[in-house]
Symmetry: none
Subunit: 242 residues, 2 copies
DNA sequence: ATTCGAATGTAACGGCTTGTAACAGCAAAG
DNA sequence: CTTTGCTGTTACAAGCCGTTACATTCGAAT
């Protein structure tokens, strides 16, 4: 799978340069110029590593990194100013995994990205799942910790890994149209090729597990030309946390 | 689809210049000379990006941008005066995505518009839909969250993506004549070509779903030469929000 | 009141998008 | 090595949307 890198920098030339360079070297790239866009990208895509400018205007890279570390072990490489040793120390203290000083060689950054990814490879991001609250919707209850789906009548439904990942993607983005690329990124870490029907097949299988009426699905609805939407309210049962 | 740009500037030469230039480069353009017209345009059209003059007389571009950010993540490019660095900083702080200093090259603005749109591409604007209240009219109830339409007799009517978008457009602009261009913009992100009957077909299909008498439709009425009007009171059931 | 042209209504059709059965390949378990 | 389950691909079917064509309605002109 091609790792998905998120580049967060207000300098559009840096975003553009890194976009082209990293794609050329086999990565998928998203870009954000500010904290808000960064948060949305982290929410809607499955990002494998963040390249974050420490001197980001507004909230600042330090605060954004700190905030990210509250919920995630996602690797972060900080872009810092040359010679600013204090900044680097602070950056590493709030959880950055590495730093690269500006102006930087894209090749150096590439090497560090690969090194950090190699080191964190296989990381299944337990924080994202472990301790996660039970999700409830339309009488169903879905426990990510035990990977257990319970039907409204109490029957436990077993899910394959693919079905589980897809349901997690939907349940954590309810009432939003998710494109096939987003669903594939969130579940398989790749984008769809032309004529790729794999998500449609998986959605069909998950609908069957969720006992949907194929003619008129209620939970997972099709949005023609857009993708799929998990059309239900989802509640977090934080109180069942152990 | 052709992105829809809203140009907000009191200088009609700038509005005119940008209108011609941006259309030539594949955009649809609307223009506003003041805050009031800007608000109406934002309500009646599906705008993809706003170009906003920071020095707009009256309420001022800063306040308008701030107000826009209270409800929307719509990208904004500020037009600022050359050399006014304080203004730019303030502009970015109230949420502008980029800025261009006057006098500006239309080509530079075009490049920035494309860059910002590329960055925000795929943005499904969750604020517009998530947590949306149930809309009630003439005994019908329409829940945008579950995309479910319920008839006065309780029967659930399934809607296609196109029918859903059209009903949303009508239900969020009740008792107002909407032109075919507006309906197409709000539902498909494009304007009508000559002899374009697609909205009329969709209206016909939606009327059938809403059980209208074709000879004498009550909910969706035709305004000859003007478009269509959703002629009913629409209530927001905010209390059903979860 | 009549005529005419424009605007609108919608049936039918074609192309595109989506649903899914069936099958093949792969990986893991026994 | 064999068996089983899972996932993706292929093929066929169904639904959706836009275009076309024909019919109806309405408003303006006479």
């Amino acid at each position: 799978m091609e790792p998905h890198i998120l580049v967060v920098d207000d300098d559009r030339e840096i975003r553009s340069l890194l976009d082209r360079f990293l794609r050329k070297h086999g990565f998928r790239v998203s870009a954000a110029a500010d904290g808000q866009t960064m948060r949305r990208a982290l929410d809607e895509w499955k990002i494998d590593l963040v390249v974050l400018d420490l001197m980001l205007p507004g909230e600042g890279g330090i605060n954004l990194c700190r905030e990210l570390r509250e919920h995630s072990d996602l690797p972060v490489i900080m872009l810092t100013a040359l010679g600013e040793e204090t900044d680097r120390v602070v950056g590493l203290e709030v959880g950055a995994d590495d730093y690269v000083a500006k102006p930087f060689s894209p090749r150096e950054l590439l090497a560090r990205i690969r090194a950090v990814l190699r080191r964190t490879q296989g990381d299944s991001r337990p924080r994202a799942d472990s301790g996660q609250a039970v999700l409830r919707f339309s009488g169903w209850s879905f426990d990510p910790t035990s990977r257990q789906l319970r039907a409204p009548d109490g029957v436990v439904i077993s899910l394959s890994a693919g079905e589980y990942d897809l349901l997690m993607a939907f349940a954590t983005h309810p009432n939003r149209v998710l494109s096939r690329d987003q669903l594939l990124d969130l579940t398989r870490g790749r984008f769809a090729g032309p004529f790729d029907r794999s998500i449609d097949i998986q959605v069909s299988r998950l609908r069957r597990k969720l006992r949907e009426d194929p003619k008129n699905p209620k939970l997972i609805q099709t949005v023609r030309g857009g993708g799929y939407i998990f059309a239900t309210a989802v509640a977090n049962d934080a109180s069942t946390d152990t």
